[in-house]
Symmetry: C2
Subunit: 212 residues, 2 copies
């Protein structure tokens, strides 16, 4: 059986050593613009560097550098997503792409939707949260001690049945104007999530005070 191709894309937000399990074993590592600084700090050699390099120096004296025009429709992260799709990736992790400027975070969530819709098992993660997109169908999420589970609609609304968690939902509609699905608690069983209409962001976030 052919091995599933797994790609890791690094954005410019700091990525700590603690995140290593998320990208270990990647078949392809991409540095999206300032993400190269993360890879240097982690001692990882990227296969491809890409970006418009408008906010930092261009990597010199190396192969695998793709210089994107400054005027373009794609963000660097989205361009990287197209690239890993073309390379046949079936699994992807996007790091260094959330928690900073909200425009970047929301753009990277869009890229996460794009990858998922194209059949890639993709997550966007930082030290405190993992985000995935759940398309229509049944999903099972193993419980994680000390973490919350939250659901948000990708579109204007999504209908979901949620079982084996603290706050269950029976064919309930989540909307863009009320965060009903936030901060749920795992039980000791796998959380069972059936997306009946639309699509959801699934967030698994560490229980720790916001301040620290």
């Amino acid at each position: 059986m052919a091995k599933v191709k797994f790609c890791a894309v690094f954005g410019a937000r700091p990525v700590s050593e603690q995140m290593r399990p998320y990208f270990e074993g990647a078949d392809c590592v991409i540095a999206a613009d300032g993400g190269l600084m993360n890879l240097r700090a982690l001692g990882v050699e990227p296969d491809v560097c890409l970006g418009d390099y408008d906010s930092g120096p261009m990597p010199e004296g190396r192969e695998g550098v793709i210089v994107l025009p400054r005027q373009k429709d794609d963000t660097d992260m989205h361009y990287a997503a197209r690239r890993i799709l073309a390379m046949g990736a079936k699994r992807a992790v996007l790091l260094g792409g959330m928690g900073g400027r909200l425009d970047h975070t929301l753009a990277n969530l869009a890229t996460l939707v794009y990858l998922t819709e194209h059949g890639v098992d993709a997550i966007l993660a930082d030290e405190r949260c993992e985000a995935r997109v759940l398309l229509r169908g049944e999903h099972s999420v193993p419980p994680r001690e000390g973490w919350y589970l939250s659901l948000f609609p990708v579109g204007g609304s999504a209908r979901v049945t949620l079982r084996d968690v603290f706050y269950e939902l029976q064919s309930e509609t989540l909307t863009a104007s009320f965060p009903l699905g936030v901060s749920n608690e795992f039980s000791d069983k796998n959380a069972s999530i059936t997306v009946e209409e639309g699509a959801l962001y699934l967030l698994i976030c560490k229980k720790e005070p916001e301040r620290f």
Copy 2:
């Protein structure tokens, strides 16, 4: 003419002195749970403190404390939003509510949609970004030197015409899977945004590298 009632709600993420212009002149200041620490640091006395106080000590020896149950559908920020609506607020700023755990940020964006749909001129802001919700109709945004303008659909898609900016859009559909509206540049005129279908998040974010 009656003065428009203006409320400021503080969440638990750090709010620096630099944000003072955003809440100066507020008729009502609400500390949502850990937001009280921000207000103490800023030397501002809240009118109401609310929260389930599960992640910090309850404010003691003072009036205006509302203790919410731990098991509830509303987040503290959403409860605060209902409260300021009931108080007749027409303008609101939500601070200390983004850039940390992504579940909190997305929940607070939902609260922003809720306030806007209920006729409140509301923003969610931190040191680097201001978020608003634009409902169907025409909007005009004054240019800001050194800041980007970005648009994202609130629902699955939104149709927009965008003029007097660097990347113009003519009755274009923004979707949840492609961040077409990100990092636009102001011209020297007001940006003209016509939301033809759906609703948009308008983000105005400072041009600074993600890393710092």
